[in-house]
């Protein structure tokens, strides 16, 4: 990512270098005995932390307006702390106003800029959350992401179900139903064999993408197992879930994913009475489905 910011980095280096030269020009170096080491150490640490923020911004953010604000805000802080550390080692004459001004005004300006950047970041994040709809609910932990489909995995699903069921128990009077859609690729191992592992991976990615885009804002799709996705539909009764299931079947049929594979989609309502072991429920649902003891109209053939 840092290649995007080469000019900025060069500018910052030059700025710090020129401020050092200016400081050396204006003041003179203190003898070592006069340096307060504890003070220098504390300010040095602050400077290092600020530098690490700068590095994190540079290495994690794409170029853009928000990044620019964050970057220059942080740069001004770094600049201020740099001068702060510098004045531990360099003595300025009492009448040099420039350095005092530079030192005391850069920090507030930098912080204001940083705040604007953070506000921008907040708006940006809301936009990204909208982009993430269908993929994330209330909770974020990038370590639970499945690296292939970029959907969350079974652990995340468990956390979400635990929370939803706990909420359901609390709101017993309002009776908010919770449903699950189980989307399973039939004979996935045959896809693996016929078309190769690469094509099978491709199919999984496409399917995850398609399912996530077809569901509503409040829904969540997770990759439960290698060939099985589970969608959590909060505040949805079984009838509604079955409508969604038909919709999904039609849409997936229309998309005609390659390589072709048969899909089974099952809708099921989960209630708090089943306890927090809802994932065990889902697994049981799946195994029951594998034994093909489900109504014929629920098993859709696609491809």
């Amino acid at each position: 990512m840092w290649q995007l910011h080469q000019q900025k980095l060069m500018f910052s280096g030059l700025l710090l270098l020129s401020s050092l030269l200016l400081a050396l020009q204006l003041g003179d170096v203190k003898p070592l005995a006069a340096v307060d080491l504890i003070d220098a150490l504390g300010e040095g640490c602050t400077l290092l932390v600020c530098c690490s923020w700068l590095w994190l911004i540079v290495s994690s953010r794409p170029a853009g307006r928000v990044t620019e604000r964050l970057y220059y805000g942080c740069l001004l802080l770094v600049f201020c702390y740099f001068l702060d550390v510098g004045d531990e080692f360099i003595h300025y004459p009492a009448d040099s106003v420039l350095m005092i001004w530079l030192e005391s005004f850069t920090a507030p300006v930098g912080m204001v800029l940083l705040t604007f950047g953070l506000v921008g970041w907040h708006h940006e994040q809301r936009a990204i959350d909208r982009q993430l709809r269908g993929r994330e609910l209330f909770f974020r932990d990038h370590q639970l992401l499945d690296p292939l489909t970029q959907l969350y995995g079974a652990d995340y699903l468990q956390a979400v179900l635990d929370r939803e069921l706990a909420l359901q128990q609390d709101l017993q009077r309002t009776k908010q139903p919770l449903s699950l859609l189980v989307i399973d690729i039939c004979r996935f191992s045959e896809v693996n064999r016929q078309f190769g592992v690469a094509a099978a991976d491709d199919l999984l990615c496409q399917l995850g993408e398609a399912v996530a885009s077809q569901l509503r804002f409040s829904d969540l799709v997770c990759r439960f197992r290698a060939d099985c996705f589970i969608a959590v539909l909060p505040n949805t009764a079984l009838a509604q879930a079955q409508q969604l299931q038909h919709h999904l079947q039609q849409q997936l049929q229309r998309l005609n994913l390659q390589p072709a594979a048969a899909l089974t989609i099952v809708a099921q309502q989960v209630s708090a009475r089943d306890g927090v072991g809802a994932l065990a429920d889902a697994a049981a649902l799946l195994s029951r489905k594998r034994n093909s003891r489900l109504p014929a109209e629920l098993a859709g053939q696609i491809g």
Partner: protein, 359 residues
């Protein structure tokens, strides 16, 4: 003293094993890259260079292979090991996979796999046994049992079982048995396997063995894709490849087999070091490096042997104790309790129960 004991046994350090890059590394890398892994990060610390990956006979050491696997394990993708097995099985450039796919029946396929095992899984070794009317494949790690070893175990199991599923269309006849520790480790992986699995009884920490039970009649069941001509061609390629690889068994495997031959007496450090042609202190150092000891190996051998004897014969505890080299039956019972948490008689009853289930 017979000749085999005078002449030195062939063996190698588990890190000296070589693996062909095309037989695992390239497939693993493409899988990992599709899951967002960066090639330079995946290859970090392995001393494998990108340019080497495309050489048909490029090789790397077992240590590098383990490093590569542990790099890939950083990806938090639990399906990687299983997929590696499938990818290896269907790779057109791996001669042994092609041979196995076109073999006549399971007997021929297993023979190929056993004979050319160094080309595919140098870090595990196999013990064959017959139990009632079943063939038992016991997989044992040829080095320390760590995360990489269990990764390889997963990929091996998925290799074998997807072969069977492909050829027979269904492999419910095959039963897999693991120690509770391994069942816990592979909790997410086991349900995806197309066969039955059961938790073994070995309760101690050394219960590293994984057993695969295959009914004897299934060995002869003809494979769907049998093609004698293609099989022979692939076998020729395997034979040539074999010459380029380190074929000696690892220290762990050699000592295991040596102890098996010496039962009921225990293998001593002196005996082992003369058989291997080295000094006792060198052997002790090597054992420490491999994170094992002679007593652990002989305990493992006795455990395996006890299971076999208990399921095969109706010998009394006193006879078993004698055959396994315990001073009396109490010691044997105590050891058995330590391995399984059960008394030998209870174990026999349990075995009868499970074998009836699988019939």
């Amino acid at each position: 003293m017979n000749r085999s004991q005078v002449s030195r046994l062939r063996w190698c350090h588990s890190e000296e094993k070589t693996v062909l890059l095309a037989h695992g590394a390239t497939d693993l890398l493409t899988l990992a890259q599709r899951r967002g892994g960066q090639l330079h990060q995946l290859l970090a610390g392995t001393r494998i260079f990108e340019a080497d990956l495309h050489k048909p006979l490029g090789r790397h050491s077992a240590a590098e292979w383990r490093q590569l696997i542990s790099n890939c394990q950083q990806l938090a993708s639990p399906e990687l090991a299983g997929l590696l097995g499938v990818a290896l099985l269907h790779n057109k450039y791996i001669a042994i996979s092609q041979a196995v796919l076109q073999a006549q029946d399971l007997r021929q396929a297993l023979r190929m796999l056993f004979f050319y095992r160094h080309q595919l899984c140098p870090l595990w070794f196999v013990q064959l046994a017959r139990q009632h009317n079943q063939l038992v494949l016991r997989l044992l790690p040829a080095g320390p049992l760590d995360k990489t070893a269990s990764f390889l175990l997963q990929s091996m199991l998925s290799y074998l079982l997807s072969l069977l599923k492909l050829q027979w269309g269904d492999c419910q006849a095959v039963r897999l048995q693991l120690s509770p520790q391994l069942v816990k480790q592979h909790a997410a992986f086991l349900p995806t396997l197309p066969c039955q699995f059961s938790q073994g009884l070995t309760a101690d920490t050394d219960g590293a063995a994984v057993s695969l039970f295959i009914p004897l009649h299934a060995l002869e069941q003809p494979f769907r894709n049998a093609n004698a001509e293609a099989f022979n061609a692939a076998r020729r390629t395997c034979r040539q490849l074999q010459k380029t690889l380190q074929q000696s068994p690892t220290l762990h495997e050699v000592l295991f087999r040596l102890q098996q031959r010496l039962l009921p007496t225990s293998l001593t450090l002196e005996q082992a070091s003369t058989a291997l042609g080295m000094s006792t202190s060198a052997l002790r150092r090597l054992l420490a490096m491999e994170d094992t000891s002679l007593s652990r190996i002989s305990d493992l051998v006795r455990q395996q042997q006890a299971f076999r004897l208990l399921s095969d014969s109706a010998a009394s505890n006193r006879q078993l104790a004698k055959q396994l080299g315990y001073s009396d039956e109490h010691n044997f019972r105590r050891a058995f309790k330590r391995w399984t948490g059960l008394l030998p008689s209870d174990f026999r009853a349990w075995l009868l129960g499970t074998s009836e289930q699988s019939l």
